[in-house]
């Protein structure tokens, strides 16, 4: 059964700084997803990573996937306060088609 771990669980960073959130998963995953959740809100899809070496960027966020290392990263460049949210990675267990397994989430707080 797929297990997904994220670290750190909580990240406080200053505006303008760079940082990376790590997502490790235990078995082969067909694809890897990143979601953002604001307090009291729903989950917003950020990235879908489909294959080894995939890299996607949107604004100050960049996600990558290394299937050999079973690792995905979400890199934040020059953080701004608006990026404060909880970020989840999630994988789909090969052969289970639609079962999305979420990581524990990383609560990001960007301070002025």
């Amino acid at each position: 059964e797929l297990k997904v771990e994220q670290n750190p669980l909580f990240l406080s960073m200053q505006e303008g700084k760079n940082y990376t959130i790590y997502c490790n998963y235990s078995t082969t995953s067909d694809r890897l997803y990143w979601y953002r959740q604001d307090p009291g809100k729903s989950l917003e899809s950020l990235f879908v990573l489909l294959s080894n070496g995939a890299v996607k960027q949107e604004g100050r966020l960049m996600a990558s996937l290394d299937t050999k290392a079973r690792l995905s990263t979400l890199h934040i460049t020059a953080a701004v306060h608006d990026l404060s949210a909880t970020y989840f990675c999630a994988g789909i267990d090969t052969g289970t088609a639609s079962k999305l397994t979420f990581g524990t989430g990383t609560r990001l707080q960007v301070t002025l």
């Binding site: 997803y33 729903s42 789909i92 088609a97 639609s98 999305l100 524990t104 989430g105 609560r107």
Partner: protein, 112 residues
């Protein structure tokens, strides 16, 4: 236009009551899901339906019964509510099961 909608948004009820949450999607997707997010923000899949057929049924008490009248709707009925059922329940949908999942706004259930 709302893509995935849920009603109600908030639900406060007494232990032992029976309640239902409704979900509808207008994205033309064929797969729908129910997730539970606990107080620590951990997200776990409960059920998934593909074209009205149950395809994922995680270890969930049988007090929880999903029903999909058609592929655009997935409802969740909960019998004999317990304190531990208090959580946010998210509905989601996707196309063909393995693609990106889109989440509804969530229903915050509080059992007193």
């Amino acid at each position: 236009d709302t893509a995935v909608s849920q009603t109600p948004k908030y639900l406060v009820t007494q232990m032992g009551n029976d309640k239902s949450i409704k979900c509808e999607q207008n994205l033309g997707h064929d797969t729908m899901y129910w997730y539970k997010q606990d107080s620590k923000k951990f997200l776990k899949i409960m059920f998934s339906y593909n074209n009205k057929e149950l395809i994922i049924n995680e270890t969930v008490p049988n007090r929880f019964s999903p029903k999909s009248p058609d592929k655009a709707h997935l409802n969740l009925h909960i019998n004999s509510l317990e304190l531990g059922d208090s959580a946010v329940y998210f509905c989601a949908s996707s196309l063909a099961g393995v693609n990106e999942q889109f989440f509804g706004p969530g229903t915050r259930l509080t059992v007193l």
